[in-house]
Symmetry: C2
Subunit: 501 residues, 2 copies
């Protein structure tokens, strides 16, 4: 229809900053160009656009199934939390009070000068309410009424919700004032059971991020400094971005009896004695979208793992007139049906108001895993052109074999992008034994495994001097004693340092 | 284990106020006893408990599929709305400003006297933010950037979200300060298309409420007084509760160009002229839970339509020892598998810490549609006892036929409760021709079809004197002219009056 406009748009879509030039800008542009999200008119908040939300829905649906398989149920707790609740757990309030949206009034009224609406001073709340930054406090205030005896335990609740933390340096998906997440909150009769739960959910997260997002993660436990405010232990999974930074993908907290004590939640145990309840909480958020975007995408746009792509296959007809289109469509319709039967999400884009070149560019930026193009010459030859998004390799293949070829290609791609990300991450995870080497590798964007003396002082000094933090004490590593790279003091084991998002 | 406790609990579960004694109290008690929801510690807010949330998830999943079938996509817009946005549309602000939660600060700090945390006066927002009572304003501020040409239209977005409206007389599910809902917001190039969309979504809602919730509704359009603030037309579906009141189950609004004008959203139409965009919005909320509970439930507890019941069938073994249980379980396990294969949600409750009597009472209160009980004598005879929740009829039937019997019973029950509700509603919907009859029927809990002169004055007078409002101008009725029952003036048609929740 408007070939010149289409060409301009195709160019603009392609006109993405290169990762090697400015990784950060590449990310910001990509989020917008791929139609995932945009800045909202409200400071620090985002609008998640339909294409971005479709990916989030797939993440949500998959995780929700996994939570249910592991015995969890969903529930919903209030958005607003009385201010005093936050103060009940001493460390928790230190961690969260600084970044809260505070509701002080419950009514507006017309300004007397007719200039609009103003806050009605008569509608001031007796106690201010906080927009939840996380829900431990309101949930434990509620659990108090649910738990009397060991027979009421365990409680295994999860909630899908929005939360707010006032962010000074917001960034789409990675750090926004409001974000979407799930938060699991469980209550147990014993310490062992709660610790097991916290570790189990870390494993569920790791399996999801590696198996669906195709993003390799390091599993471990946080240092005391980096722990969730109010937790005894925070288990984490950390991924690596293409600029060599760590991205915390999900955390699972063993909360001990801290919140039970803060909200006086006791139960009668099997020995008929009163005891405080043991707790965990665990969450992942729309931040996962950031991890996903950063992990596989390239200078041409988004690369999505097939398992989470809203559109897995797009088919673009190339034609001159409606007769041509009718012939192509007759053939494509059968393929579309066959693929749908196999559970593959396929889009046949026969819209006539955009040219194939524009469509190609658009689906490339949006990271559709497989693209099939089909013109009149193909029709005669019984072929088509197929392209895989991760490698950008085009092939001419027989049309009739697509029904088998496409599912295999999707599987291959899912595996290939995970292997690629893993090989790259593994190559950039190194052991260092001196502070000079430490600084050099951190500067170059590496995950650094170094001996640490276990003190918060050393941790703070290293952070101050290198901007690297302890991402975790990784699991599954030989714990060989050594010498702290910074202080020279004895160190029980190596820990993982990196700069992070 | 504790037979005496179980008996007490069973009695307590059963100890529900009768509908005939106090319908309102019956409802309040039932919501709590069936474990659906409870008051939150925050005024006017609720905690939706896992069993209640499981029903809401079924509602959500079903509706979401229907929205997608009709071409809609999901997205997410910010929770907080700048105060000034509300004032942009004159009627909208009148309708919503009165009941808003207002965020004025973004930080807390430690009180100097160590008494806890206080609002940090230094962290006052330049412009206050409103917790969304509905999202037309923030969405149209966003659409402004999405829409340039007719080629960008239609936009068919839906959002699943929480919203807040400060309620003076809160009631679980029916009126809570915070509630969950979906809100569709669509943008169109023509008036006709937008009007069609608004009516189409009313139909989607009606089909869902009748087809899944088994609740008959009257479809119609609101009077000007009862319209959504900012709409040109509000289409509604109204159900009848067992105490003869109307319950607005869902609304769909044709917004004309009001919001497009307020947020200056114009597009270049096919004739290359600038034009304001046409809009609709439509929503249903956790209020549907209230409609569902009120429609079918009885003095023994909840009655759920099989299509929305989280557990459709419960099987309770009756046994004396683990040998008995093993024999029963061997048989039941095969049935459970067979039912699951048919997509039926079944629970085999072999928990040994509760007695069958308690389980029976609990599942009855919770409205599980079909209950199967099976003891050793049944095992020998090849029978079992089956009970249908709506009729409470028990039958002894051959165990081997259950695989066919149960799906049929669920289907029958789905139809039967709809028919029952419809017959009852139809019997309580009457035409009246005098004001005395009008008052009498309203007082007795009827839906009254009466002639109305079309003026807001008459509408207001009737409301003042009888507490009845115009629920809608119903569709599908002969529009015969007549005389207004109140004013005696000429009236074009009958409209539907009722008291309402």
């Amino acid at each position: 229809m408007h070939p010149e406009i289409d060409t301009d748009m195709a160019k603009e879509l392609k006109d993405l900053t290169k990762r090697s030039e400015n990784y950060s800008q590449w990310y910001n542009e990509l989020v917008v160009k791929a139609d995932l999200a945009e800045q909202a008119p409200v400071r620090g908040c985002m609008v998640i656009k339909p294409y971005g939300y479709a990916i989030w829905e797939k993440i949500q649906r998959t995780l929700d199934d996994k939570f249910k398989e592991t015995g969890h149920v969903n529930a919903y707790f209030p958005l607003l939390i009385p201010k005093s609740y936050l103060s009940r757990e001493a460390e928790h309030v230190e961690g969260f009070a600084k970044e809260c949206a505070v509701v002080t009034h419950y009514r507006l009224k017309n300004a007397e000068d007719g200039s609009g609406v103003i806050v009605d001073p008569a509608a001031k709340l007796e106690e201010e309410l906080i927009v939840r930054p996380t829900s431990e406090t309101i949930i434990w205030a509620t659990y108090k009424n649910w738990i009397k005896s060991y027979r009421d335990l365990p409680i295994l609740c999860n909630q899908w919700a929005n939360v707010m933390r006032w962010e000074m340096r917001p960034r789409l998906f990675l750090r926004t004032a409001e974000f979407l997440w799930q938060e699991g909150h469980t209550a147990h009769a014993t310490r062992e059971e709660a610790e097991q739960e916290a570790r189990r959910m870390q494993q569920v997260y790791a399996d999801f991020v590696e198996g669906y997002m195709a993003v390799p993660v390091v599993r471990g436990v946080k240092s005391e400094t980096e722990r969730f405010a109010g937790a005894l232990d925070t288990y984490t999974i950390e991924s690596m971005t293409q600029d060599g930074k760590a991205l915390q993908c999900g955390t699972s907290h063993f909360l001990g009896q801290n919140f039970a004590k803060a909200f006086d939640v006791q139960f009668i145990n099997k020995e008929n004695k009163l005891e405080y309840v043991w707790a965990t909480s665990w969450g992942v958020s729309t931040r996962l979208m950031g991890a996903l975007i950063m992990a596989h995408s390239d200078d041409n746009g988004l690369v999505l793992p097939p398992k989470l792509a809203p559109i897995q296959v797009v088919i673009v007809p190339i034609y001159k007139n409606t007769d041509d289109l009718a012939q192509i469509s007759a053939k494509v319709d059968i393929l579309v049906e066959a693929l749908k039967k196999k559970g593959i999400s396929v889009k046949y884009d026969d819209a006539d108001n955009k040219r194939p070149g524009f469509k190609f560019a658009d689906y490339e930026v949006k990271g559709v895993p497989v693209r099939v193009a089909l013109g009149m010459r193909d029709l005669e030859a019984g072929t088509c052109e197929i392209m895989r998004r991760d490698t950008l390799e085009k092939e001419t293949v027989p049309f009739d074999g697509l029904e088998e070829l496409i599912p295999n290609m999707l599987d291959d791609m899912q595996t290939a992008i995970f292997e690629k990300a893993k090989a790259w991450r593994d190559a950039r995870m190194v052991e260092v034994n001196s502070y000079d080497e430490f600084k050099e590798k951190i500067e170059a964007g590496y995950f650094v495994l170094a001996h640490w003396d276990g003190t918060a002082e050393t941790e703070a000094k290293i952070k101050e001097e290198t901007k690297a933090t302890i991402r975790c004490l990784p699991f599954g590593m030989k714990e060989e004693p050594g010498t702290d790279v910074y202080s020279g003091k004895p160190a029980a084991r190596r820990v993982l340092f990196a700069r992070s998002y």
